[in-house]
C-alpha cells in the first residue's frame, strides 16, 4: 500500500519545561521544502495585532520565546517563506509560561549524587568508629616506596620528590601530599635527605608542614631541613629544566613523581631514567600515564593514587571515599550487566519484529543520560 501524504506545515507552543519561567517553546513541523526563512509572530490575549518575535532556526525548527511574561496568554503564528509561496501555521489554543521548582530532566543526576554522597558519609562514619575495619588492598608501588628510599640510603644518595604542577585544590596534589608524608617518615627513619621542589607557593607551604610533622613522628624533628622544600618557579618548562638540573647535579637514588603533570612529565621521567634512579610515579592525569608506565619502575594509575593515600593515612575521610567509590563501581557493573542482558534481549525481539522492548530500553537509557539529537 502506498499512502500519498501531504504533510502540512504546523506549529505548537508550550511552556518551556524545567526553567525559571518567562519562556515559551515554539516548535514547527514539516517545514516545506526550499524554506529560506521562518518568521514567528505573537498575539497577546486582549490585543488585536500580531507582533514579530523573531526567526526560527531552520536546523532546529524550535525557538524559545524568552520575552513573555508568566501567566499571560499568547497566540503564535509562523510563516515559512519559500521562493514562490508563503506557508502559514497558527496554534489553536493560547499558551502561557510558568516557572518550575525542580528540573525533571536532571533526576538521574540528583539520584546518583545523593546516593553516592550518602554512601560515602556512612562509610566515613564507619571508618571513624573502626579504621581497621575497612580493608584496602595493598598496592605494589606502595610497597616499593620503602624499598626505594632504602636503596637510595644505601647508595648514599638523596631522595627527590616532585609533587606535580597543579594547585592545592587538585585531587592528585592532595593525594601526593599524603604520599609525601609516608615517604618523609621513611626518609627520616633512614636518616637520608629529601629534596622537594615546588611549582606553586601554596602547595609548598603545605608540603613543608607535612614533612615537618613526618620528621617529628619519626622522632627526628631536628633532621628536617626547611631549605630542601623550596619554590622553584611557576613556569612549566622553567620548572622542568630546574628539576632536570637537580637530577643531574644531585643524582638522587630514588625519584617520586606524584601528582598532576602535563607535558613536562616526559622530560622528568626520561632524565630520571637516564641517571638510573628508581622511579615511582603516580598521576591522575590520564594523558601523561603512558610515559610514566614506559619510563618508571612503578606507577600509581589514576584512581590508584587516591587509594594509596587512603591506605597510607588510614584517615576515615579518605577510606570512606574509596569504599564509597568501590560501591559505586559495583553498582555501575551491575547496571551494565543487567542493561546489556536486557538490551540484547530487546535487540533480538526487535530484529524479530517486536520493537516494544527496544523502546523501553531506549527510554531507560534516555533517563540515565540525555544526549543531543
Amino acid at each position: 500500500m502506498i499512502f500519498l501524504l501531504i504533510l502540512s506545515f504546523t506549529i505548537s507552543a508550550k511552556d518551556t519545561p524545567d526553567d525559571a519561567g518567562g519562556s515559551i517553546t515554539i516548535n514547527v513541523y514539516n517545514i516545506p521544502e526550499g524554506t529560506e526563512q521562518i518568521e514567528l509572530y505573537r498575539l497577546t490575549k486582549g490585543d488585536t495585532l500580531f507582533e514579530e518575535v523573531g526567526l526560527i532556526p531552520i536546523f532546529k525548527g524550535e525557538l524559545d520565546d524568552a520575552t513573555v511574561t508568566d501567566g499571560v496568554l499568547y497566540l503564535y503564528k509562523a510563516t515559512a517563506l519559500t521562493p514562490d509561496t508563503v506557508y502559514v501555521a497558527e496554534i489553536k489554543e493560547f499558551a502561557s509560561s510558568s516557572p518550575e521548582w525542580f528540573n525533571k530532566s536532571r533526576t538521574s543526576v540528583l539520584l546518583f549524587i545523593a546516593l553516592f554522597w550518602v554512601v560515602i558519609l556512612v562509610y566515613i562514619q564507619l571508618a571513624k568508629k573502626n579504621p581497621e575495619g575497612l580493608f584496602i588492598r595493598k598496592l605494589p608501588p606502595l610497597e616499593a616506596m620503602d624499598e626505594a628510599v632504602g636503596r637510595a640510603t644505601e647508595m648514599g644518595k638523596p631522595v627527590l620528590y616532585v609533587p606535580g604542577i597543579e594547585y592545592i585544590t587538585d585531587a592528585g596534589t592532595l593525594a601526593s601530599i599524603t604520599i609525601l608524608a609516608k615517604v618523609g617518615r621513611k626518609v627520616a627513619e633512614y636518616e637520608t635527605r629529601i629534596i622537594n621542589p615546588h611549582f606553586d607557593p601554596i602547595v609548598m607551604t603545605t608540603a613543608q608542614e607535612t614533612l615537618k610533622n613526618a620528621f617529628s613522628e619519626a622522632g627526628r624533628p631536628d633532621a628536617f631541613n626547611k631549605d630542601d622544600v623550596f619554590y622553584l618557579t611557576s613556569e612549566q618548562f622553567g620548572f622542568a629544566a630546574g628539576v632536570d638540573g637537580i637530577m643531574l647535579r644531585e643524582r638522587p637514588g630514588a625519584i617520586f613523581l606524584q601528582g598532576y603533570f602535563y607535558a613536562e612529565s616526559l622530560i622528568l621521567a626520561e632524565t630520571g631514567y637516564s641517571i638510573g634512579a628508581i622511579q615511582i610515579a603516580g598521576t591522575n592525569a590520564t594523558t601523561q600515564l603512558p610515559f610514566f608506565v614506559a619510563a618508571c619502575d612503578y606507577v600509581l594509575l589514576g584512581e590508584e593514587m587516591f587509594a594509596a593515600s587512603a591506605y597510607i593515612s588510614k584517615e576515615p575521610r579518605l577510606l570512606g571515599s574509596i569504599k564509597g567509590s568501590d560501591l559505586a563501581k559495583s553498582v555501575l557493573l551491575v547496571l551494565i550487566g543487567v542493561g546489556v542482558i536486557f538490551g540484547t534481549f530487546a535487540a533480538i525481539k526487535n530484529v524479530a519484529g517486536n520493537p516494544v522492548y527496544m523502546e523501553i530500553f531506549d527510554r531507560i537509557l534516555e533517563f540515565l543520560a540525555r544526549t543531543a539529537e
Binding site: 618557579t233 568501590d326 563501581k329 542493561g339 546489556v340 530487546a346
Partner: protein, 211 residues
C-alpha cells in the same frame, strides 16, 4: 623592514631554545627567562583588559542595574591580595580561596556526574545482538574492556579467583590504551617540531614556500 627584523628575532630565539638539546646553557637560559618575564606581563595585560575593564569597570561606568553587586567579588578579590601582607594578616586570603574552592567543588560534582559518569555508563550498556556480527564483537570488546578495567580499580577486596583474572585482563586493556595514547603523543610532538622547521626554512630562510 620591521617584518624582516621581527622574523630574525623570532628565528634567533628559536635557535636559542633548540640549543637546549646540547644541554642547559646560558643562551637557553636567557631565552627561557625572557619568555617567563614576557608571559607574566602578558597575563597582567589580559586580566586588566578582559576582566577588570570589561567585567567590572564598564558595567559600573554604564550604571547598569545590579552593578553594585560587583562589590562582592571585588571584596573577595582584594582579600586575595592580602597574601602580600605579613603573615599575621595573610590568612584573610583564605576567604577568597574558600569561595573559589566552593564553586569549583559544586561544578565538579555536577559536571562529572552529568557529563561523564552517567553518559559513559549509558554508552557501555550496548546490545550484543544487533544483527551485525561486527558491531556485536565491537560492543562486546567495549563492555569487557570497561568491566575489567573497573574491576582492576576495585580496591576494597583481595584479588582472588575470578576477580584476579578479570583484573589481569583489565591491566591488559589499560596497557593497550596507554600504548595507543603514547603512539598518538609521539605523533603530536613530531608535529610541533614540523611547525618550527617550516617556520625556520619558510618564513626565515625562504628556502621553501611559507604557508
Amino acid at each position: 623592514m620591521l617584518q624582516i627584523i621581527s622574523v630574525w628575532i623570532a628565528g634567533g630565539l628559536t635557535l636559542c631554545i633548540f640549543s637546549f638539546l646540547y644541554g642547559d646553557n646560558p643562551v637557553y637560559k636567557f631565552a627561557e627567562h625572557l619568555y617567563v618575564g614576557f608571559s607574566a606581563a602578558y597575563w597582567l595585560i589580559y586580566v586588566w583588559h578582559f576582566t577588570i575593564k570589561q567585567m567590572v569597570i564598564n558595567p559600573i561606568v554604564a550604571r547598569e542595574p545590579g552593578a553594585w553587586m560587583l562589590i562582592i567579588p571585588l571584596f573577595f578579590g582584594v582579600l586575595m591580595l592580602s597574601r602580600w601582607l605579613p603573615e599575621r594578616y595573610s590568612w584573610i586570603s583564605r576567604w577568597s580561596i574558600a569561595f573559589v574552592v566552593g564553586i569549583g567543588a559544586g561544578i565538579i560534582a555536577i559536571g562529572q556526574t552529568q557529563g561523564l559518569l552517567l553518559p559513559q555508563l549509558r554508552a557501555t550498556i550496548l546490545p550484543l545482538a544487533t544483527g551485525n556480527w561486527m558491531t556485536n564483537v565491537n560492543n562486546f570488546l567495549v563492555i569487557i574492556g570497561t568491566v575489567s578495567t573497573l574491576t582492576y580499580f576495585y580496591f576494597s577486596r583481595r584479588e582472588t579467583g575470578l576477580m584476579s583474572k578479570f583484573s589481569r585482563l583489565g591491566i591488559g586493556f589499560i596497557m593497550i590504551a596507554l600504548g595507543a595514547a603514547f603512539g598518538y603523543t609521539i605523533m603530536a610532538r613530531i608535529s610541533l617540531l614540523i611547525g618550527r622547521i617550516i617556520f625556520l626554512f619558510g618564513d626565515w630562510f625562504h628556502i621553501i614556500k611559507p604557508l
